[in-house]
């Protein structure tokens, strides 16, 4: 595999640029799109080996390639299949990062009433340092 080595990337006019470090830190190191209802099923993913269904509304994402520390950042969103259904869309997420298993990332989906729930559309990503 060939590689491009550079410290800075910018537009042709030279009016806008970004450092390589900023670009590398700002790209997702893992992402996922799965259905957490029924027989939980992954639609597509990047750097995800498997999902662990820990209970209703609690799914653990297991990385293929481990991150270099536990201080990574993740976001997650879950929604129903019904547009405008306020009970399912706009669901907030909660995350707790295991301090022990760095190849794992825990997420829970909560309804507005504070109840855990599963959703047909769960998407998320992780930013951080894989090495």
């Amino acid at each position: 595999m060939s590689a491009i080595r550079a410290d800075n990337f910018g537009n042709r006019a030279g009016t806008s640029s970004i450092t390589a470090d900023a670009m590398l830190q700002g790209t997702a190191k893992a992402w996922w799109n799965f259905n957490s209802t029924g027989a939980v099923a992954m639609r597509d993913s990047f750097n995800i080996a498997s999902l662990t269904d820990n209970g209703v509304g609690a799914v653990q994402v297991n990385f293929t390639a481990a991150m270099s520390n536990a201080n990574f950042r993740g976001s997650q969103h879950a929604a129903s299949n019904t547009p405008g259904n306020s009970s399912g869309t706009g669901t907030i997420f909660n995350q707790t990062v295991s301090l022990f298993y760095q190849a794992q990332y825990y997420v829970s989906n909560f309804t507005g009433a504070g109840l855990t729930s599963d959703y047909p559309n769960v998407v998320g990503d992780v930013l951080g340092d894989p090495a």
Binding site: M1, K29, F34, T37, G38, A39, V40, A41, M42, D44, S45, F46, N47, I48, A49, S50, L51, T52, D53, N54, G55, V56, N62, T64, A65, A66, M67, S68, N69, A70, N71, L99, F100, Y101, Q102, A103, Q104, D118, P130, A131
Partner: protein, 142 residues
Amino acid sequence: MTEWVATREELRSDFMLMEEAHNRLSPVSCDHRIAFHDGTQEAVKVITPAPRFIAQLMAGGYTRNKRCIGACEETGLPIFEGTNEIMPAMTYEQAVEYVAWKDMPRGTNHFTILHTDDLPRIDGDIDKARKFRNAWRLEMQS
């Protein structure tokens, strides 16, 4: 089985192998699930292998034989156990078994691999059964 603290070079290499597999391989649908008791609670947990990881394992040449078992207190880097050799191509069944070893908590031996058709249902509904998983019973894997 050997244990070691990961190096940044090793983690970078693992990530690059994963990226290459992602770019080159098509996902392999996985209709099997791994159900297990982790020893901390009675409720059954269920692992769903990712189709892209199954493809990566079946192709061979992209995955090192290891799993993360903790973090180094001094550096924060992952601690791995395994042989660290790059694994050759494997069958679908071997790939699912590898996922079970890699992603179940260490020491878990109360598990079973089952087809999605065999997931517990209540009145034909998997979701209903998932809410009452304390009622699940697992037979020991030999």
